[in-house]
Amino acid sequence: MNEFPISLVPDLSSLGVLEQSVADFISTHDLDTEVQFRLNLMLDELITNSINYSLKAVANPELQLLLSLEGEFLVARIEDNGAAFNPFEEVPQPDTTARLEDRQVGGLGVFFAKQLADDCIYERKNERNQITLRCNIGGKTHVGNT
């Protein structure tokens, strides 16, 4: 009962569906709005990456999201059937100290996930990309609804 599997249409209109799904999950589990913002941002960025890179040339793209609570951890898993792509290694880290004139505009999204999640795990399983984010939300939840 504390798992939320969500199938997403693999185009950017799914970001609106994502927002609603995250809001439902947060309210079902009585979680903090700060967790909601953080979860939404990390998933938005990684799903946008999946759509724009991994799934770009796939004939029958599939994109799935699974949200669950495991003790004090919120666990989000994104899975797609696209080309192997490990965003945590293949997307260069942005230089957040560069001056305005020199600042590169890419790479911030994956950087956010690395900053905001406690663990960012990439696995390639059965020809699918599987990204798992784990966030410790201890203290940001009321009584768990397990």
Binding site: V9, L12, S13, L15, G16, E19, E34, F37, R38, N40, L41, D44, E45, T48, P94, T96, T97, A98, R99, L100, E101, R103, V105, G106, L108, G109, F111, F112, Q115, L116
Partner: protein, 116 residues
């Protein structure tokens, strides 16, 4: 699949600046609405912009990219861009991105206008 856009951008003129007020969410799906509104200002020759984020409740890197390019473009053309009214979550994202160090961020619209 069509749905109501989750972003609208209204503008107010406050010489010499144009105040841009995005309401809703800026993400990869809605950012083109912001880009369109900015293009209108550039076409009209306005490069002094104040972004009032009072009604903005979400921004992703797709939106930050456009803000960065806007600030750079204005700076290069002798204009100015100031941001104000950031909610706490958005302020934190500016912080993580290092944007507070390279962009002009004020806490209120009054402070932003005083800095023009």
């Amino acid at each position: 699949m069509s749905e109501t856009p989750k972003l609208s951008v209204s503008t107010e003129h406050n010489d010499p600046a144009v105040i841009m007020c995005p309401a809703g969410r800026i993400d990869g799906n809605t950012v083109s609405i912001l880009e369109g509104a900015l293009q209108e200002q550039y076409d009209a020759g306005n490069n002094i912009l104040v972004f009032d984020f009072e009604e903005l409740n979400y921004i992703s890197s797709a939106g930050l990219r456009v803000l960065l390019l806007t600030a750079r473009r204005s700076q290069q053309s002798g204009g100015k861009v100031i941001f104000c009214g950031l909610a706490e979550n958005i302020s934190q994202i500016f912080q993580i991105s290092g944007f507070n160090d390279i962009l002009n961020v004020k806490s209120s619209r009054a402070e932003a206008l005083a800095d023009l």
